[in-house]
């Protein structure tokens, strides 16, 4: 591929992505101004834009953003450590897998946010409750996808390892784990989506801490533009976590 075509192949998707976003914003603005969308349900993008300086100066959104992102990273770290370890355990011990895989799958589909009162009793109205809620919600998909990735390792790769007389630890770190990495990262992404939803949701529900609490307060005041501006910061948290995840994946496995 020639240099200009390589540059084009990199620039075009970005231009298309940002262009679509800009077009959507302008279209929504136009539809609201034309009265086709009720401005008391969806605020105008221009109003949301104007609300940003206000929520930064008056609502300390940056410190709340930092709190939510810290909770998200803490939960992500716990999900990665315990989720991957859980998947490895189920892969290693077949009896354990047979005994619990269905339960873990059921847990992944359960509305775990409903257990927040229990966590409130255990951890109090604190960031720990929020982090633990995020961790609990993200655990099951990470366990399941780790298990799936390890189980899907091609038999011939395991045989190559055996032919080189690898120890069980070498077999895991040099063959099973790198082979399963793409699927493990799918699980981590799913887990982090669940974790982030629960983190912001529980902040909202228990009216504590970061962006969830701010969104709750702004919604209570019927400050729609401010509420949507705060939601943009939640999206930013998500973007930060996912960019970091992607970097980590590229570093661990540069090409698939």
């Amino acid at each position: 591929m020639s240099a200009p075509s390589v540059a084009r192949s990199r620039v075009l998707p970005a231009v298309l992505g940002w262009g679509t976003l800009a077009f959507s914003i302008v279209a929504i603005e136009g539809l609201i101004r034309a009265g086709l969308i009720n401005r008391f349900i969806v605020p105008m993008p221009s109003e949301i834009l104007l609300a940003f300086p206000r929520i930064v100066s008056e609502e300390s959104v940056l410190s709340r953003f930092m709190l939510t992102i810290a909770e998200a990273f803490s939960a992500s770290f716990l999900v990665a450590i315990f989720g991957i370890a859980g998947g490895v355990l189920l892969h290693r011990f077949n009896l354990l897998r047979q005994a619990t895989e269905t339960w873990v799958a059921a847990l992944a589909a359960a509305p775990l946010v409903l257990i927040y009162p229990l966590y409130l009793v255990i951890f109090g109205r604190s960031a720990t409750t929020i982090v633990m809620m995020g961790f609990t919600a993200g655990l099951a998909p990470t366990v399941l996808k780790t298990l799936e990735g390890l189980s899907a390792t091609r038999r011939v790769l395991v045989d190559v390892g055996r032919s080189f007389n690898l120890t069980p630890a070498q077999q895991f770190w040099k063959i099973l784990f790198p082979s399963a990495l793409p699927t493990i990262f799918v699980g981590l992404r799913l887990g982090l989506i669940f974790a982030l939803i629960n983190i912001v949701g529980v902040e909202f529900l228990i009216n504590f801490g970061g962006l969830g609490q701010l969104i709750n307060e702004l919604a209570e005041r019927y400050d729609l533009a401010g509420t949507y501006a705060a939601i943009c910061f939640v999206v930013l948290v998500s973007v930060c976590v996912f960019v970091l995840m992607e970097r980590l994946e590229r570093w661990l496995r540069p090409v698939d």
Binding site: V156, S163, F164, K174, V255
Partner: protein, 289 residues
């Protein structure tokens, strides 16, 4: 055609091989499997030896137990009768003396060509500089210089098999054990890779045991071809291939080559027909069931 050895050179080479002690001894191997239809004997009292530097092929129809034998010799399968010894040492499981190349594509997709080839050297604890220097030699040997930084997904099937071969050779095994390594490739690529194997074998004097169902490949590459029967797998005949070395794929057009192919096909045809009839019988039985 490449330069042929003189009759006296060939005589000297065969006398040397004949006088050498076998490096691989496969002694009276019997392997049975439990199946829903009862006990299946896949390999039945198979014995043979391979001398240092020799290239031996095991050929047989599908279902003759070739791959079972490959796994037994490579130490990937246990629960068999008999023994496998390398240089006098009886094997119990995978062993560094035997380097395996698999039929299925087996490069590590997350490693570059050079890192794939350096894999056994990494296991041996060599420094990065040292293992890369040695890996580069094997990359060049299989003709992949210039592709060191590529990932397997950026290579063709034939190139990937050469990466697997270089990786196995980098471990300096006493015996190279190959299970139909070119089975998934087209005929032309297969012949050209055969040339590469011949060149490598000549350069390294690598003792090689090739498991295959391809008669042309077996005759092109081997000093001896061991023909197996259809289930249960037994050795039916041993054919010494007295074609001159060094060889290239051009030899496939020679009259002598054609005679060897015809001779081996004569032995195999009956076995392959039995296999075909057996398959049809099973298919009919399963259709009735």
């Amino acid at each position: 055609m490449a330069a042929m050895s003189t009759p006296s050179q060939r005589l000297a080479a065969s006398a040397e091989a004949a006088s050498a002690r076998p490096i691989l001894v496969v002694d009276d191997i019997v392997k049975r499997f439990e199946t829903p239809d009862g006990v299946l004997t896949a390999v039945d009292h198979v014995s043979f030896t391979v001398k240092p530097g020799e290239f031996v092929s095991l050929i047989g129809p599908s279902g003759c137990g070739k791959s079972t034998l490959f796994n037994v010799i490579g130490g990937l399968l246990d629960g068999y009768q008999g023994s496998v010894s390398v240089a006098g040492e009886r094997l119990a499981g995978p062993h560094a003396a035997i380097g395996m190349i698999f039929q299925e594509e087996s490069t590590f997709p997350w490693r570059t060509v050079i890192d794939n080839v350096a894999f056994p050297l990494e296991l041996a604890g060599l420094s990065k500089a040292e293992r890369y220097a040695r890996a580069r030699h094997f990359v060049e040997l299989v003709g992949l210089d210039g592709f060191e930084r590529r990932y397997p997904s950026q290579l063709s099937g034939g190139m990937r098999q050469r990466v697997s071969m270089a990786r196995t050779l980098a471990a300096s095994p006493k015996i190279l054990l190959m299970d139909e390594p070119f089975a998934a490739l087209d005929e032309q690529t297969r012949l050209l890779l055969g040339d590469k194997v011949l060149q490598i074998q000549q350069e390294l004097k690598q003792t090689t045991l090739l498991i295959t169902h391809n008669i042309t490949e077996a005759v092109q590459l081997s000093d001896r071809v061991l023909v197996m029967t259809y289930r249960p797998g037994r050795l039916k005949r041993e054919v010494a291939i007295e074609l001159p070395r060094p060889r290239t794929s051009e030899i496939v057009s020679s009259e002598a080559f054609g005679r060897y192919v015809a001779q081996i096909w004569g032995d195999l045809r009956e076995e392959a027909s039995r296999g075909l009839r057996d398959d049809e019988k099973h298919k009919r039985a399963s259709d009735h069931a």
